[in-house]
Symmetry: D2
Subunit: 396 residues, 4 copies
Amino acid sequence: MNIAMLGSGFIGRFYADSLQGYRNKDKIVSIYSRKEESARKFAKDYAVNFSATNMEAAINRPEVEVVCIALPNNLHEEAVMLCCKHHKAVISTKPLGRNAGESKRMLEAVEKAGVFNGYLEDLVYTPKFIKAYESVKNGALGRILWAKSRETHPGPHSDWFWDMEQAGGGCILDLGCHCVEITRSYIGKDIKPVEVMCWADTQVKPIDAEDHAIALVKYENGSIAQFEVSWTFRGGLDLRDEVMGTEGTIWINSFLRTGFEMFTTGKSADYVAEKAESNSGWLFPVGDELNELGYNHMFMDMFNALEKGIQPKETFYDGYIVNTVLDAAYKSAKTKQWEPVALDIWRGRIGLSKDHHLTEYDADHYLVKEEVTHYGVKKLILKNKKTGKIFEKEVK
Amino acid sequence: MNIAMLGSGFIGRFYADSLQGYRNKDKIVSIYSRKEESARKFAKDYAVNFSATNMEAAINRPEVEVVCIALPNNLHEEAVMLCCKHHKAVISTKPLGRNAGESKRMLEAVEKAGVFNGYLEDLVYTPKFIKAYESVKNGALGRILWAKSRETHPGPHSDWFWDMEQAGGGCILDLGCHCVEITRSYIGKDIKPVEVMCWADTQVKPIDAEDHAIALVKYENGSIAQFEVSWTFRGGLDLRDEVMGTEGTIWINSFLRTGFEMFTTGKSADYVAEKAESNSGWLFPVGDELNELGYNHMFMDMFNALEKGIQPKETFYDGYIVNTVLDAAYKSAKTKQWEPVALDIWRGRIGLSKDHHLTEYDADHYLVKEEVTHYGVKKLILKNKKTGKIFEKEVK
Amino acid sequence: MNIAMLGSGFIGRFYADSLQGYRNKDKIVSIYSRKEESARKFAKDYAVNFSATNMEAAINRPEVEVVCIALPNNLHEEAVMLCCKHHKAVISTKPLGRNAGESKRMLEAVEKAGVFNGYLEDLVYTPKFIKAYESVKNGALGRILWAKSRETHPGPHSDWFWDMEQAGGGCILDLGCHCVEITRSYIGKDIKPVEVMCWADTQVKPIDAEDHAIALVKYENGSIAQFEVSWTFRGGLDLRDEVMGTEGTIWINSFLRTGFEMFTTGKSADYVAEKAESNSGWLFPVGDELNELGYNHMFMDMFNALEKGIQPKETFYDGYIVNTVLDAAYKSAKTKQWEPVALDIWRGRIGLSKDHHLTEYDADHYLVKEEVTHYGVKKLILKNKKTGKIFEKEVK
Amino acid sequence: MNIAMLGSGFIGRFYADSLQGYRNKDKIVSIYSRKEESARKFAKDYAVNFSATNMEAAINRPEVEVVCIALPNNLHEEAVMLCCKHHKAVISTKPLGRNAGESKRMLEAVEKAGVFNGYLEDLVYTPKFIKAYESVKNGALGRILWAKSRETHPGPHSDWFWDMEQAGGGCILDLGCHCVEITRSYIGKDIKPVEVMCWADTQVKPIDAEDHAIALVKYENGSIAQFEVSWTFRGGLDLRDEVMGTEGTIWINSFLRTGFEMFTTGKSADYVAEKAESNSGWLFPVGDELNELGYNHMFMDMFNALEKGIQPKETFYDGYIVNTVLDAAYKSAKTKQWEPVALDIWRGRIGLSKDHHLTEYDADHYLVKEEVTHYGVKKLILKNKKTGKIFEKEVK
């Protein structure tokens, strides 16, 4: 696959390392950067034949088969419109837009133009997520009750993230977009998110945007999603998901505790610990970040789908859903109310009610709980269906 | 110390194991149970000289120095009033009352009677909590931004917990009371909790009360507390706390991951795994539950304080604060609003505003972030104090 | 119980914190130290009525019911002989002697004098060990194949440990004594240790004794024990046990990973992290060291046994076994051979052969392995009893 | 790269999944299997154009650029000789031979023929190993003192592993080959392994080969390597490495604890847990096994090297070293002696003596240890260079 990369910053380089690393057959053939120096450096580092500071020039080249957007949030819409104009397949970094309005326009544009579109939500492509998701789909956890995703770290790398105009928001937009799609996937992408309650604050940083937020997202079937996001966390990148179902539980730690632990006095001066907040004491490196963060499996899905002429797992439609949920979160943080998720476009199931699956013990009773006590006796807690009375019963 | 124990159920026996275990000098001298058979069995098991099915008879004995309430929630107030009547020191299990009204009456009664009163919130006495709390007080985490406590398991042991009248509520009251006091302690017991947002639902069990809830508690200084409680969790007893401060982070796992891991095929038929949901596969036992759950250190604080004539760390006042926060949580779950914490009695600090502690870089700039990049370069993100502009600067 | 404490150093104080802490009824009534200043300070800190720099004077007092030896290794024998002379119950810190000769003399002396004797091997009294041991005894792991104990840290606290004459050896004697008794307990204290292979070296420290050693101890029934000990480990106190049985596995981490994790930038200058090698970055504190290291449960067993007139779990006989195994380890480190464990005294089972418990599949075949393959098929690997041929068989 | 795959069993399919998975540009063009049915099935599953039951026919095809050996151990030599005959680049699974004699002949053959040769020791290509190794090389751990690798599981998948003639040995050869190369890499591949002490036994399985073994490998510079291997472990695949250096420690868990934890009651009947010993209770899946086990990075190194005309990280020479160390282990298990590593070919450093790096405190003293005590005092333990006396000194 021949790729035009838009953006030569931190994320563009991460993408390029994944796209052209390993034994991959894909190739970046065109690079756009706002700064000529950056474009040239990127072109040199990744052996890219064409570089430009004009976005359209980078896109509109015959050899380009797919355009990869790795730009600040405020430039996504412009880039997508150019891809539509030149009828190029397009994949965009997260979040898709700064808000649902932008996302909706992008979604409608690509669909009208009939171009392939992929939403680069890498964290639903991590090897751990993929396997956990399969288990959930196979019923290992029963009915999903709650899914939480947490992403916190000491703040993003590039200046534009901290600027409201360019970024469109703070950690909710930057990190919450991941969390919303992760938890939505566990609950079911065909289940409608209906309302959001969000707390957000600027507790530490000298910025206008929020640097810490927590939200609950209620789904039509009664499942609840939760996100915890922050730019004020100390200790590294905390990336954890938890899922509770009626028959099981999943805990995933994607970064800070992955089975790699190192203590060093730090006496060897040239040793530099990557990503950690310090370079001595106990450190928790990640083996292969590109893989652990899902980049490899994400691009595999995107390009395999493009080659087969099918949709990838994540499309602009998903990016639009995410932005709509986040818009409700922002609104809720201000109004202090549960705010509805204002989905103009919804392609999943509708009219679901909260599931009820009471467990019968016998014709007259529900089973509340069954357990082996502290003293080795099997005990049932039952509820009389008519009277509602709850009582214990020992079983021998 | 000579103790009258009120209640011979699960928690009464747990307390007794702690009180009379180890090399302890304390002694239960009187036991009250609603059922005569239970009272006698308890008396025999713990070598207690006097047993009664009349509560007052168990309390009003000359040798009794302190009364320990281990009864269903709806009987706490009656027991406390009898202790006041007979001028006995009293310590009560959690929650203090079914609501703030009950707690307030109990608080006022013990203070009017001038009797020693202790609130048996064991989870702020676990060895891990005690050490973590000291670190927080010594400033290891800087300013506290957020504290979360999570307690979830597959549901309580005794039937009365599941009954609204006796229990007064579901998992919010049963488990949330722990979480509120844990997080309040990390944030500072002199900081006023001001409002609560709570989601609660009955997702699985055939009961009137909630079996799953999540809440946020805002404090006057801008710190945020969070609790996650459930009776629907699968996998054992999940007991975890997390604290975020400007200078650090604490993660505590008090039960399911404490450094003890066992795999067994379960072929030996007589092996019974305690507390776990299964008795084969990977199991995670806890060494000494009484100690890990804080009972030993709790009673030590209570009795040492009583002997010295001082207040223990946790008093009925704390129990009252907790009930008031939980009342706001219940109200919020219904109104879907942030509800104020209606504290009639408050003995901590007042008039705090949200702290602001921006970090100066130089006279003209605030420091947003400092980091070592992916490529080994030290990078600063700064904000111009006047223009508000945020930009990057590399440092060699 | 009224205790005479011999020794006021690091371990004596640790013992005293356990003995007189919590709600304990026991009391130190006499303290001996080689230095008068230390004796006085200890007496003041722990409210001890009598202090002495003459060992016999501290022992030979009417109120003393039991003598606790917390002295350097080279003084244990003298102390034990004085206890025998004055017919005092005696409990001694580990190792019992500097070698089996000393241990044997002490064992014979206490038995001849008929005095209660206890061996203070705290690590078979940790809450985790106690529960793990019960599981093993109940058969949760099947037949025990291998047990490993590892204790490594950056070196002991007091100067005498580093001196061959006083200590009698290096990390093998200091730490290996724990490991030998832990692993011997899992394998069965009635199973005879028969031979030892040990590697030892002085890799880092400027001392005559070994600062790193690894050994294998073979038992008569074919089980194998292993110890890994070092004074050169970096990162804190690494205290881990592993047990493999035919039906299960146990992993215990007693210190560095117990469910308590803290990150701190270390900016608050007065924060001191105890026991850790640094006071910033990720730290792993232990909640209540006295309890986690087994001191509380150890003294409980000792004194309960003494009160009941029975033997404690660990006696001088166990101390003698441990010293004999360690003597073989020291010899093996020099001869580079497997050295026999020269037990003059053995009270366990004898004449055991290596167990064989082959699993039959049917009359003609043994079962080698049963598994579900990568591709979801159940596969058996069988061995023909007559021909010895091994082959696969799929089962539907 | 066009590959001829020799072997269509478990490992051949694992290799194929890695080679042709992801966005890889490499392609298997020829498959050899001993059974025609297997060859055809493999060809179909992986879209391979040519299949054969004649090994030479599969190798000797013009489009084949590299031959990948995934055969039972007893067939490696024949395959290598055919590659030499037809002058094909060859990469072989582990162990290279059943013994050093076979390995040496293979090494000499490929070097004489001048063909590219790679040794497929995947576990020095895991993402965790690669990053840990870089840290070690950069000095984060100081001088390496000890490196341990442990690989244990409930026994291999295919029948031939259990047969001495085909496999050449038991778990030492099957698993120890990984451990030797892992630990040798941490210590330094230019440091000569000099002698081995090994214990091995057949504790559980009805086989002639060993099913459990532990060994120590001494290196010329005084560093010590250790391996623990078994086919009798219960609980899954235990794959852990530990490294101790003078300035640090590394702990790697590659399989059973990688940050992915799942509890399931197992009620959904169609859920199949891969690789675990059970499909209910707490399970610990691995995200992407191919990546975590190093296959992807291994083939990347092999083929990148082949394209560049350089040597890969692991060659037949390394395979030969490993076999020679394992031969010494087998011999030692029989003789119960430390056995020399009989390296006829050695291309690393020679004449190293055990390093001594004593730390000076001042002109007259060595520093033994520096620590902050239990009581907050900084304490030095020093050794007088002349007298050898060791003493404590407090520093304010």
